[in-house]
Amino acid sequence: MVLETAHPYSKYLRAEMMPHIWCPGCGNGIVLNCFAHALDELKFDLDKLVVVSGIGCIGRTAGYVNADSFHTTHGRALAFASGVKLANPELEVVVISGDGDLFAIGGNHFIHAARRNMGIKVLCANNLNYGMTGGQQGPTTPLESFTTTSPYGSIENPFNLVHLAAASGSTYVARWTTLHVRRLTQSIKKMLQKKGFSFVEVLAQCPEIYGRYNKMRSGLEMMSWFKRASVVENFTDPSKAEISADKIPVGEFVDVEKLSYEKMLHEKISKINERAMEMVK
């Protein structure tokens, strides 16, 4: 064992902000690790990267990645990112946010950004609750699970995020868990190279809160749930990809090509300018 002070991915992280604030065993750290790994494999030009995050534990990611970054108000990351992308389509805009931020308060912005096919890449760390504020019920909290605002067991049906993203028009939809580090990295790489709206959901463990409330007291126990229950089902019907205690369908569900919004806008503007030129002649 060599005692060391610098990690090979340190150039993707802001040294003055490390170590990060996440709990021991938090899945968000693994999401950040896979993201850095994907950037490394692609030899990504960090000058072109903009990381936008919402509010939540995973929302702190924007502060940790060594690129232009912005930490928005709760739920508005996609709307902000739309403005960034349209203003400068050369930038690669990645929204890294959580299940509550993207699908509760931010739900409307998500479906419209996907519908428009904005060329924004969304990496969603789904930890099944609102971690930052202490572990409240969220839109992806499984039925009958315990959180601080569902002390008798949740009676709300959770979203099937893969289905929601696919139905909204996302051109790339994938789901992995933090155990599937290799495949998650490959999905992130693929996402960064696609042109249209792309979405990768990562089931991330929240051992300190969600895990503790639901009989999975350590990160290792939640990881073993991921290991036991996940099944790779590439390109199966997204509407059937629900998460339950016994089954976590993972894989790539949608991978299509569709003209992105900014490309269409650019083409329209060019056409209008051409016609105006002809009228002036």
Binding site: V2, P8, G25
Partner: protein, 94 residues
């Protein structure tokens, strides 16, 4: 589940197993245990040493078993552990 037929690699005599070094950034480790649990070759184990955070950091039980799959590097949430190759791999001449 299809039956696996175990067969050593055909060029096993020529190739030398990669020599690795596992690096630990001691005080960044939060003791989650993922690297120890999920190493496919069981190279790591929990040590008795305690770092500045008050957790037991991992230690290498047998470096010769390490094949540099880098799962520990990829799964660590705290960027506290990474594996690197030692000097370049030598290919034994026939």
């Amino acid at each position: 589940m299809p039956e696996r037929i175990r067969h050593p690699p055909l060029d096993k005599e020529k190739m030398e197993q990669v020599q690795t070094e596992i690096h630990l950034i001691e005080d960044q480790c939060k003791g989650c245990g993922y690297c120890i649990e999920y190493c496919p070759r069981k190279v790591l184990e929990e040590s008795n040493e305690i770092n500045a955070r008050g957790v037991h950091i991992p230690k290498v039980s047998d470096i010769s078993k390490c094949i540099m799959c880098s799962f520990c590097t990829a799964v660590c949430p705290d960027f506290a552990i990474f594996v690197e190759e030692k000097p370049a791999r030598k290919v034994k001449e026939d």
